[in-house]
């Protein structure tokens, strides 16, 4: 299923190119609006990075199950001899990979173009990036499954996803800011703990609740 989704995206290019362009655009608009000194830029870079990531990610998360519904693939997919939980994990894996691509592009842009010291502590940054990615993808995947029953494209899914992932955005942005300011103390660990709890809760909730969404 993961392979199917990746191959389909590579052949059609429906989601990744607009997502990358949108992420770049959001980052560019934010930086145009904020002509700041280097110290001030470092303070807000975490927030900008995660906002750009989550806005670009919305384009992907919104579409997680939409293609299956539009192309009439959903009923065929339910004939696979796998549980709904497996479908959740397959979609979750595709979203993690897709979000990782936009994260790589945005982080490279912030480090090499805007000169933000995100790699001052590479392992710390890697852990924040991975946990933030898993958090957004886990909550986004289960909520995007609601798209299987919602009429048209009302923007309601994006609203729900954005509201639910706010703790991840706040925690990841703050943890990233603390990395940039060389402060990996108690507060940084608290934000990481919050991210870990969010990821564990939402992966478990997603795996448990998907059954109730996909049943006929």
């Amino acid at each position: 299923m993961v392979q199917k989704d990746l191959v389909s995206e590579l052949r059609t290019g429906l989601v990744w190119p607009p997502m990358c362009l949108f992420g770049l655009l959001v980052a560019a608009v934010f930086s145009f609006q904020m002509e700041l000194l280097a110290d001030q830029r470092i303070q807000i870079a975490g927030g900008l990075l995660w906002l750009a990531t989550v806005f670009a990610g919305m384009l992907v998360l919104d579409r997680t199950f939409a293609a299956e519904r539009e192309e009439g693939c959903w009923h065929a997919m339910k004939l696979y001899p796998v549980s709904a939980t497996m479908i959740y994990f397959a979609k979750f894996a595709v979203n993690v990979i897709t979000l990782a691509i936009i994260q790589l592009i945005l982080i490279a842009l912030f480090v090499f173009v805007a000169d933000i010291p995100l790699f001052k502590h590479p392992w710390a940054m890697l852990s924040v990036a991975v946990l933030g990615n898993l958090g957004i993808a886990s909550a986004g995947t289960i909520l995007s499954a609601l798209g299987l029953g919602i009429r048209g494209n009302s923007g309601l899914l994006s609203l729900l996803i954005l509201a639910v992932v706010i703790p991840v955005v706040i925690a990841a942005a703050e943890a990233t800011r603390l990395i940039c300011t060389d402060d990996l103390g108690d507060m940084w660990r608290r934000w990481i703990h919050l991210l870990v709890v969010f990821v564990l809760v939402f992966i478990s909730a997603g795996a448990a609740l998907i059954d109730f969404i996909v049943e006929e």
Binding site: A139, I142, L143, L146, G149, I150, R151, G152, S154, L156, L159, L160, A163, V164, I166, P167, I170, A171, E174, M187, R190, W191, L194, V197, F198, V201, F202, A205, L209, F212, I213, E215
Partner: protein, 210 residues
């Protein structure tokens, strides 16, 4: 029930206006607390009730739980909206601004957005049974998210008062206000659940006659 609600509101209004002592620094603006605090509590409790009854619906598939869940979400939405409005009025008097991104204000605002999303979901779906299942899932996800929103926002320093010291008279008045609004909250919940039940019955009869 309408009489009981009106009587409750009159009692609370009279008690808050004439019997509650005036606060020294804030003056009359402080009286809004007697409305704001119960609304905030019930807004929070109502969302938890929505999630719990939503989970019970998923488990039992009895429409009854869905009615309670939906009624609680609607009453809760009203309470959260009033919390934000009364809080804003108080903030304008106390902080000279209608709104600030204080941790508590942010928490309530996010909860209000999730609750609004829950209510909008119903209008955006055709299948009634599917809609009930999806709403239950959103309520559970929102309830799971709530402790994390609280944690994430509390770690920032806020300006919202936390359990301020009150003179005994004010405390009693707050308890009276909470009791009165408990009755109103209960009445609204029961009435709304009745409406939803009847609306569903009418829809079923229409289906059968068509």
């Amino acid at each position: 029930m309408l009489h009981a609600t009106t009587a409750c509101l009159l009692i609370a209004g009279a008690a808050v206006s004439y019997f509650a002592s005036t606060e020294k620094t804030m003056g009359d603006a402080q009286r809004i607390l007697y409305l704001h605090v119960p609304m905030a509590w019930f807004g929070l409790i109502a969302f938890l009730v929505t999630a719990i009854t939503g989970a019970l619906y998923l488990r039992s598939r009895e429409a009854e739980w869905d009615y309670w869940s939906q009624a609680s979400a609607e009453v809760g939405w009203l309470c959260l909206t009033l919390t934000i409005v009364t809080g804003s009025i108080w903030a304008h008097a106390a902080w000279n601004t209608w709104w600030t991104w204080d941790p508590r204000l942010t928490t309530v605002f996010i909860l209000w957005v999730i609750n609004s999303g829950y209510l909008l979901l119903r209008g955006n779906m055709e299948d009634t049974l599917q809609s009930a299942r999806f709403r239950a899932v959103v309520a559970i996800i929102g309830a799971l998210d709530l402790p994390m929103i609280v944690m994430a926002t509390r770690w920032f320093r806020g300006m919202h008062p936390v359990a301020p010291r009150m003179e005994p008279g004010m405390r009693v008045m707050l308890l009276i206000s909470v009791a009165v609004f408990s009755v109103i909250f209960g009445i609204l919940l029961v009435r709304r659940r009745g409406h939803l039940y009847l609306a569903n019955r009418i829809a079923l009869i229409k289906q059968e006659t068509d």
